[in-house]
């Protein structure tokens, strides 16, 4: 069983990583969702004692690990919080750059930086000239 859970979590993580590398920012958010699901699945799997739900009165036989479930719950909530935040952030970035393509965002940043660099070079040259 541990192999299967590990395999499923790894597939989620791998596809999540693949999506994180996409140029489309919305797909990056999908990637974060998948990676967080992988983490939650791993948390549940980490307490995999395969028993009844840990609710009193306890049935005979094995009981599932309640602690890993509590951790999984917390992780799900945090995952929801950060995903919603990231999605809204992506929306604002798309609106600000008028493009949801990462590549274009990067290109604009590079252009801006190059402009800044040239400006500084020029200022520096002027300073040198003035000093002489």
């Amino acid at each position: 069983m541990s192999l299967l859970f590990a395999l499923a979590a790894a597939v989620l993580f791998g596809t999540g990583a693949y999506l994180l590398l996409d140029r489309d920012l919305v797909r990056v958010v999908f990637g974060v969702v998948l990676v967080s699901q992988a983490a939650v699945l791993t948390l549940v799997a980490s307490g995999l004692t395969r028993g009844a739900a840990p609710i009193y009165p306890l049935s005979r036989g094995p009981v599932s690990d309640p602690l890993s479930q509590a951790m999984a719950l917390t992780a799900i909530v945090i995952g929801l919080a950060v995903t919603a935040l990231l999605l809204v952030l992506v929306l604002r970035v798309v609106q600000a750059y008028r493009s949801e393509e990462l590549a274009e965002v990067a290109v604009r940043e590079a252009e801006r930086e190059a402009r800044l660099e040239r400006l500084h070079e020029r200022e520096h040259a002027e300073e040198e000239a003035a000093a002489r």
């Binding site: 920012l25 983490a39 990231l86 600000a96």
Partner: protein, 442 residues
């Protein structure tokens, strides 16, 4: 115990209330400063109790350790908490003086302080994770502060990369829980010996990646320059002087306490990665012309020293790592804040910070460098590396200083040349704050 609880609950509750108020009002800003001051005060009281005696240990709800969450304030944690609190306080004072631009800023900084304090005083692995998330989430929102294109772009990179880092951390937490059956740090440390090498090393690798991303070590650093140059100076100071401490603290706590065997195993790799960071950060910082960009690359180089010190290990190595982290965080806070200002006072402060980065006494950075030299005295290669790194930091710090401040002075002189009597400095110092406010000629 009271001081420990207060240091958590005061910023926590106050931050929530502040988040409802309009932070652009001056009063709200100063209340936030007072809360941060109170947090700092509580931490000082806590430190006074912790440093001479034993750590303060509390388990929530009167349950036995392990069942409840253990809060444990020891010297290492309190030191980092104090340091981060100080960084947040100074950044907030700076921003309140400049004029807060967004409603949520004060509340978020105060909540960030609560999260950071929690991270440093908890003795429970999963509790560490949730406090860590609290601090990071506040950090993600703060990175958008200003709301311009640059800030948003930087915040996006910061958020995505660090989210990946925290999920990797969470995966390792799940693994550690599975192999040890506990979440309490001292319990984990005791049980980790029995875990076989393969699983332990894989989990350790996960933690290492997560904290390296936070710190911005060489192969994981690519997000860092974008973010530190894109964010507003106060936010950059908060991120580098406060939030980044989690990375160094995590490496020390997890490497030194929970997984010492794995740390020894990986010492060589740590030294290699640390050296790469030192050289890479130093070399790239040299040709940067804007102060914030130089600082961003310098940050990469500086954490390299910490990693090398941890890799060298032993009491001296750890002490050097801690000391260097402290000094580095203070330097970065100071420099990010002063880099955007002009005038004699700002210039002198920047110079002081730059001296500190270069490791020149009596600036604190020197003490850190000295400890590093002591820690590595046995290895000529490392000493040569440190000397080279110091030389690089000397070069870039002063190049930037010259570009930014002396040029500013000269410019001031030219413009007031006709009336030589009116000193250029008095002019520039009078316009110091005004100039800092308008983001100075950028």
């Amino acid at each position: 115990m009271t001081a420990l609880s207060l240091s958590l609950v005061v910023p926590w509750a106050a931050g929530l209330v502040l988040a409802l108020l309009d932070g652009r009002r001056r009063l709200v800003g100063w209340v936030a400063v007072c809360v941060l001051g109170a947090n700092l005060g509580a931490l000082v009281v806590l430190a006074a109790a912790v440093l001479p005696d034993d750590p303060v240990v509390v388990t929530t709800g009167n349950w036995p350790a392990g069942v409840g969450i253990t809060l444990r304030a020891d010297a290492l944690g309190v030191l980092f908490a104090l340091l981060s609190s100080l960084a947040l306080l100074s950044a907030t004072v700076f921003e309140v003086l400049e004029g807060v631009r967004e409603r949520t800023f004060p509340g978020l900084v105060v909540l960030l302080a609560a999260g950071l304090t929690g991270v440093f005083v908890t003795g429970d692995l999963f509790n560490f994770y949730v406090f860590f998330e609290l601090a990071m989430t506040a950090g993600y929102v703060l990175a958008t502060y200003g709301g311009g294109r640059r800030e948003l772009g930087a915040a996006l990179v910061f958020t995505t990369v660090n989210l990946l880092g925290t999920f990797i951390f969470l995966l390792s937490v799940a693994g550690v829980y599975h192999v040890t059956g506990t979440l309490e740090m001292s319990g984990i440390a005791a049980r980790m010996d029995e875990v076989d090498a393969n699983a332990a090393v894989l989990l350790a690798a996960g933690f290492f990646v997560a904290f390296s991303v936070k710190l911005g070590l060489f192969p994981f650093h690519f997000w860092l320059p974008t973010v530190y140059t894109g964010a507003r100076p106060a936010v950059a100071a908060i991120l580098s002087g406060g939030l980044a401490n989690i990375g160094a603290y995590g490496l020390l706590r997890f490497g030194g306490e929970l997984l010492p065997g794995e740390l020894d195993l990986a010492a060589g790799a740590l030294i290699v990665i640390g050296s790469a960071s030192i050289l890479y950060g130093g070399v790239l910082a040299v040709s940067r012309r804007t102060a914030s960009e130089m600082l961003a690359y310098s940050a990469i180089g500086q954490v390299g020293y910490v990693l090398v010190a941890i890799g060298v290990g032993g009491p001296v190595g750890f002490a050097a790592a801690i000391l260097y982290t402290v000094v580095n965080a203070l330097n970065k806070t100071l420099l990010f804040l002063t880099a955007q200002m002009r005038g004699a006072l700002a210039g002198a402060t920047f110079a002081l910070g730059a001296l500190s980065v270069a490791g020149v006494p009596p600036a604190a950075g020197f003490v850190g460098k000295l400890e590093l030299f002591r820690a590595t005295a046995g290895s000529p290669a490392l000493v040569a590396l440190f000397v080279l790194g110091s030389a690089l930091s000397f070069v870039y710090a002063f190049q930037t200083y010259q570009y930014d401040f002396w040029r500013g002075e000269r410019r001031g002189r030219r413009s007031s040349a006709p009336s030589r009597a009116s000193s250029p400095r008095s002019r520039s110092s009078s316009s110091r704050w005004a100039c800092g406010r308008s983001r100075c000629s950028r």
